[in-house]
């Protein structure tokens, strides 16, 4: 009876319009949070994949006409590294250790290759795609190495076609063994190197830190302290002006590709922020339309409402009744929005994987938090507007 008296004049078309407006607003809000979070995960996340533009940069001291040939001019001193750790946006600094001992690589079979091979090592936490078998201990003959993806590209697209050699996939390269002769004169050791991974972040050939340390200690120049000409840093936002100024002031050089990606990231952030503001506006409009619909419904039932109050119905009881009627609609709308957002996340994750990017299949916690917050605000606003309209 209460439904007939209070909601009998409810216009179905208007109800659907209000629900669709609310659903659209909520969906856009969730999608914008989702987009922001996904980019955030790709850009700042703890994942190993940083191919969208790394926050990792390799820094070296710029070689100029003035310092060219000056001993140790481009070497990082301990105080330089300490200062870098305190620099704006810098979250972590790792030294790149290069081999200070001779390494000679030889390959047989269809790919006759014999060359001096420079190796480097970085702390494991700076490796973008950590292979499972990334370890070496003194006495082991097998040496895992990681090769820059760019090397394979240069081989496949430049060297192999010009020399009439077969192109190689990543998996086929991993099956090739490389003989490494370390040391000189009578003091040599041979190792069997296997490519176990490719890096988008490091532009050289990496060996485990333990191997480089062993080689430098065993075959390096005794008495000469270890020096580092490059460091790898993890920067929160390399596009930050203070960070760029810091690099310039200290005459540090870096790979500009990363900074270019940083600009892309800055643009992405602006776009997602703008989308978020637009979504908030739409959510606000959707909520307003829905509340106006409720107020209109109550206004149209004013005569019945007045008489109900006169015969003893309490405003609180009627408010609860009205809220109970609109609550399932609101929750249904919110669930619908969340389903759309979850589907969007799933599609985004599947598509991202085809691009080599890792995104979770389910929306992240900020999306759920936005859902909970927006639903709570919506419920408070609707409850208050119902209560106010009834007591008016």
């Amino acid at each position: 009876m209460l439904k007939r008296l209070l909601l009998g004049t409810q216009h179905r078309g208007r109800l659907w319009a209000a629900l669709i407006a609310l659903c659209l607003g909520t969906t856009l809000l969730l999608l914008s949070v989702m987009i922001w979070w996904n980019f955030n995960e790709l850009l700042y996340g703890k994942g190993q994949d940083d191919s969208l533009g790394s926050t990792f940069l390799i820094i070296g001291k710029r070689v100029t006409d003035q310092n060219m040939g000056v001993p140790n001019a481009t070497i990082f001193q301990p105080q330089d590294i300490e200062a870098l750790k305190q620099a704006p946006q810098v979250q972590d600094v790792g030294v790149i250790t290069s081999n200070h001992f001779p390494i000679y690589a030889m390959m047989g079979g269809q790919l006759p290759l014999a060359t001096d091979l420079p190796l480097e090592s970085v702390p494991d936490k700076f490796i973008d795609k950590m292979p499972a078998d990334w370890k070496w201990e003194p006495g082991s003959r097998d040496l895992p190495i990681i090769v820059s993806s760019q090397f394979l590209d240069i081989y496949n697209y430049v060297f192999a076609p010009s020399q009439g050699l077969p192109q190689l996939s990543q998996s086929s390269v991993k099956s090739i063994a490389l003989n490494l002769k370390v040391g000189k004169g009578d003091r040599t050791e041979t190792f069997l190197a296997h490519v176990v991974g490719f890096s988008d972040r490091i532009g050289s050939v990496l060996a485990p830190q333990s191997f480089i340390d062993y080689g430098n200690k065993t075959y390096g120049n005794p008495g000469v302290p270890m020096t580092y000409s490059q460091v790898i840093i993890k920067a929160k936002d390399p596009s930050d002006k203070h960070f760029a100024d810091y690099l310039q002031q200290h005459d540090y050089a870096t790979n500009s590709q990363n900074l270019r990606w940083s600009k892309v990231r800055a643009i992405v952030e602006v776009v997602t922020s703008a989308t978020g503001i637009l979504a908030l506006l739409l959510m606000g409009i959707g909520t307003l339309v829905f509340i106006l619909f409720i107020e209109l419904t109550i206004a149209k039932a004013q005569a019945s409402l007045t008489l109900l109050l006169q015969i003893g119905y309490s405003p609180r009881y009627i408010s609860r009744f009205m809220t109970g009627r609109f609550l399932p609609l609101i929750l249904g709308t919110v669930v619908c929005s969340m389903a759309i957002a979850a589907a969007g996340q799933w599609v985004a994750a599947v598509n991202a994987r085809t691009q080599g990017l890792n995104l979770p299949l389910l929306p992240g916690w900020p999306v759920w938090a936005a859902l909970a917050l927006s639903t709570a605000i919506l419920l408070v606003l609707v409850t208050r507007s119902i209560s106010a309209a009834i007591r008016k």
């Binding site: 009876m1 209460l2 008296l5 109050l309 006169q310 015969i311 003893g312 119905y313 309490s314 405003p315």
Partner: protein
């Protein structure tokens, strides 16, 4: 529950009341539960205004009105709802039924609020007032007399200490008036309640304990 009025003057009638004498307006009076008060009021003297003030529908008056310890001028909506479901019931002069609901639904929507009167009892009261065949008729299609009888039953399907009546039989013939008087008397007696009956002319519908000229 005692009803107390102290210096009550409805604002729209202020000029008129100051020039006449009244048994209620501007007076300090109190009535106890169980009293049968008849308020005789010629047209325009504020009979309906009094009932509406006592029922809390109007607040445009000077003075104070109290139901027990509840000062009506400061009583909130929720407390009014409590008073209207447990302490005071009313038969409006203009009936005030829901035209969208049937005769039975108009009663049942009130009955369900407290659920102190069974459906069977309410049906029986409707039958006693000759509305057996009108239970499923829409409120909008009932005659004034039928509406008035439905309004009477609606006022009785709740517990109350006081029953307020504003010309409750104005649309009823003699036979139906007698049936309504009997029913109201029975129910008021069951509740040991009091009544305030406002009407134009003197009558002996109920054994009044006080008669007041408004």
């Amino acid at each position: 529950m005692q009803l107390s009025l102290h210096g009550v003057v409805p604002l729209p009638l202020r000029d008129k009341i100051t020039s006449t004498s009244s048994g209620i307006w501007k007076q300090q009076v109190s009535y106890n539960k169980g009293e049968f008060i008849f308020v005789q009021a010629p047209s325009g003297t504020g009979k309906t205004t009094l009932i509406h003030i006592l029922y809390g529908l109007r607040k445009d008056y000077e003075g104070t009105v109290k139901w027990g310890d509840n000062l009506l001028a400061t009583t909130g909506d929720e407390l009014f709802a409590d008073l209207r479901t447990g302490d005071i019931s009313v038969i409006f002069q203009d009936m005030r039924l829901f035209p969208e609901l049937t005769a039975w639904e108009n009663i049942d929507i009130k009955r369900r609020l407290t659920n102190t009167i069974s459906e069977e009892q309410a049906h029986e009261w409707l039958d006693r007032l000759g509305l057996k065949d009108k239970k499923n008729s829409s409120g909008a299609t009932l005659s004034y007399g039928e509406q008035q009888r439905v309004a009477i039953v609606r006022a009785l399907v709740q517990p109350f200490d006081w029953l307020l009546m504003d010309e409750p039989f104005s649309h009823l013939d003699h036979a139906n008036t007698q049936k309504a008087i009997t029913l109201i008397s029975d129910v008021v007696r069951q509740h040991n309640a009091g009544m305030i009956m406002a009407d134009l002319d003197a009558n002996n519908y109920f054994p009044y304990t006080k008669t007041i000229l408004l």
